[in-house]
Amino acid sequence: MTGKIIAGVLAPHPPHLVYASNPEQNEPRSEGGWETLRWGYERLRKSLFEHPDKKPDVILVHSPHWMTVLGHHVLGLPHFKGLSVDPIFPHLFRFNYDIKVDVDLSLLIAEEGKNEGLITKVMTNPDFRIDYGAITSCYLTNPDFDIPIVAISSNNSPYYFSNEVGQQQMEKLGRATARAIARSGKRAVLLASNSMSHRHFTTEPEIPEDMSAEHIYHHGQYLWDMEMLKMMREGKSRQLIDCLPEFMDMALAEVKAGALTWMLSALDFPSYKAEVHAYGSVIGTGNAIVEWDHFTNAKGLAGGGK
């Protein structure tokens, strides 16, 4: 059977959302916070898991916090267990993870990436620590971690040249991913683990979850986010991609790491409308949970890379 992408998701990874959820795996405790976004993830989970035919076999995540300088790396061992401490917010995120990896699909992506002319590498060091970005997006999408994942690194090198060169690589990686999924015969969800506008406060309130201190960093940044979300909601993913390099510069956007481009390319730049499950700020950065429901809107399509 040909594999299918059932959804692509813009799935931001502020560790604050894990902290606020108080899962037993996370060491620090909180009084909650950032409900708008957490409830958005709840709506995403409902959308992904409620329909038995839609339920994914594998979750792919591209995180900007696994940074590589040579090529795109994928996790290449079936199981990773350990403690991931966020180097920026260690007081909020110290997560004991236990994660299964779909190595078959990882290998297919590495192979198809090479076919696209990309450098790909398979990470097989058992001591490797999974980054907090991937864990956060995966936890919020599937708190039980009962679905194996494929984690893909962010390759930083093309950005020595320009944002555009970086984006071109990510389009290729997206096509490679779509072909790999088709070959795998699996139903896959793609998580682009990125916030939107990324300018943030340089201090934090005494109680990190003090919501009276939370708001978007500034209005211009908010307008940028809304402009981007509008395109997503109108199904203008090509136009969205064209605007990304400017968005990256103007709003310091984390999409620079390329996850959104990768995901939309794998979906072959859908023209149907995406569903915004939530938008909210975390220490001033803009974050949106947005789903491209490929299962409903592109029935029978394997995604891009035809």
């Binding site: 490797f128 201090t203 307008l223």
Partner: protein, 507 residues
């Protein structure tokens, strides 16, 4: 090209003589990539780098240093500054990119007390700080590699400080200087290690490890030049060209490590320098450098951040700004100007350093005036000075009183000006002037002369003039003489400054 820049053979271990009274025994710059530690057998250059670092290790061991302080450009923070405060951090490091070289078990001895002292110094400067004492906190590859090679048996306690990736030159220099104050308070002799690479352009294609080379000839040339200057001990000179070097050769984290180091030693060239080695690692440039103080290094009393730096940066801002808002056809039509108007402080503004107003001079005929309601000065000058019947105000900008926030300016991530709103800024300037005059029991009515400085006459004069008219020149209002000139730059990212003189008479 000077030949000593290319390492051939390890130099003999020097017996260092710490200058009398100096708490700094020596400063070192070492690379933080894992190859010298984990894969030195794969490339002769990587091996030479390892040997160079082992030379540094022996030199430190033979010195009277009591502690090693690391500042690594790989320990990046975006929120203030972090300090390692776990007395015994233990974990297994696997590099994000070089995982194929295996894992490094570490078990370090940290001087947590120093972390506290240093954190307190940085906090007192108004920064967010955190002492990190968490099991499993990921110590960066750079610090681990340096510590493993330079202090392999934990003979000396170590201190580890982070690098804020958004901090500019001025802030990074000051964070370095804060380390010197902390060292003095702590009282131990310290070998200072800045973990930083040179040019940081990796090969983007796979190469056989044994065939490594610097990925660009231009980078190589710059690296050699930088090492030549460091080899002469001229740290301050390198710090001054760091920005250009970064632009030209993609220096590691904007060569912030050098700013930190130069700040720590109080911005000086007073060193003897030695280059232990220079080699490529997967296209990047990596040098091992020793800097030996010629005199005792001490913290600088009343250390001030160079305002010159603000001028250097903001003078380069694009003079004719472009609209910062989304520009696609269906963008909110009114967004650009509205948003520029409501623009708020950017982290770049946090770098503006303000001063306590100087106390009045001894002369009885002079009296300094300073107002709590006006923004603190950015240099050692009072808000105003009364001499006889006249009150002379220092140049006044639009910065908001009590803050570093500048109304009506939008900056990009680098702190470059994206747009200005002269109307907002002019009003803010005049409000600040009113506050200062009020402090001297005066008001705008007493103003007899105004000098106006605009950074963009073409764009701003008309608007400025209109707003000015609201305060001066209306029927029955004050009508001071006025001179208006265009200037290339003002010390902070503002577009208007006013210099005012008032006649107080017998008031």
């Amino acid at each position: 090209m000077k030949s000593e820049v290319t390492s051939k053979s390890p130099s003999p271990v020097k017996t260092l003589k710490t200058p009398a009274g100096s708490l700094i025994t020596a400063c070192y710059i070492v690379p933080g990539l894992p190859q010298p530690l984990m894969a030195s057998e794969k490339n002769p250059g990587w091996k030479r780098l390892r040997e160079a670092m082992e030379n540094v290790r022996d030199e430190i061991a033979a010195s009277d240093a009591e502690m090693i302080l690391y500042f690594s450009t790989q320990w990046l923070t975006v929120l203030g500054y972090l300090f390692q405060a776990d007395k015994n951090p233990k974990w297994t490091l696997v590099d994000h990119n070089w995982h194929e070289f295996g894992s490094v078990q570490y078990d370090f001895k940290v001087d947590a007390e120093f972390a506290s002292v240093y954190a307190r110094e940085v906090k007192a400067m108004g920064h967010y700080v955190r002492e990190v004492n968490y099991r499993g906190f990921p110590i960066d590859t750079g610090t681990v590699v340096a510590q493993k090679l330079l202090n392999p048996t934990n003979r000396l306690p170590a201190a580890m400080a982070s690098c804020n990736m958004y901090a500019e030159k001025q802030e990074t220099l000051s964070i370095g200087q804060a380390a010197m104050r902390a060292i003095e308070k702590h009282g131990k002799r310290v070998a200072v290690v800045c973990v930083s690479g040179l040019s940081s352009r990796y090969h983007t294609e796979e190469i056989p490890f044994e065939k490594d080379f610097i990925s660009s000839a231009k980078d190589d040339e710059w690296n050699r030049k930088i090492l030549e200057i460091l080899g002469e001990g001229n740290l301050e000179d390198v710090s001054e060209v760091a920005r250009e070097y970064s632009k030209q050769a993609n220096a590691d984290m904007g060569f912030r490590g050098i700013w930190w180091l130069n700040g720590l030693v109080g911005k000086t060239n007073d060193f003897t320098g030695h280059v232990f080695g220079y080699e490529p690692i997967y296209g990047t440039g990596n040098g091992v450098v020793g800097l030996y103080p010629k005199r005792a290094i001490k913290s600088v009393p009343g250390w001030v951040n160079d305002e010159a730096d603000l001028v250097e940066r903001f003078a380069k801002a694009p003079p004719r700004a472009t609209a910062p808002m989304p520009s696609s056809a269906n963008a909110h039509a009114s967004a650009p100007s509205k948003s520029a108007a409501s623009a708020t402080s950017s982290s770049a503004l946090d770098k503006i350093v303000t001063f306590e107003a100087p106390k009045s001079s001894a002369k009885a005929s002079e009296k300094n005036v300073s107002s709590k309601k006006a923004p603190p000065p950015v240099g050692p000058y009072p808000h105003a000075k009364r001499v006889g019947d006249f009150l002379f105000l220092s140049g006044v900008g639009p910065r908001k009183p009590g803050t570093k926030e500048i109304p009506g300016v939008q900056l990009d991530a680098e702190g470059n000006v994206v747009s200005h709103d002269v109307e907002i800024q002019t009003r803010a300037v005049l409000e600040n002037i009113e506050a200062i005059l009020e402090e001297a029991k005066s008001s705008l009515k007493d103003v007899v002369d105004v000098q106006v400085f605009l950074t963009d006459m073409d764009r701003d004069f008309k608007t400025f003039n209109r707003v000015y008219g609201d305060y001066f020149g209306y029927v029955g209002g004050p009508s001071p003489t006025r001179t208006t000139v265009e200037v290339t730059a003002l010390p902070t990212p503002i577009c208007v400054e006013l210099k005012v003189t008032a006649f107080l008479g017998s008031k």
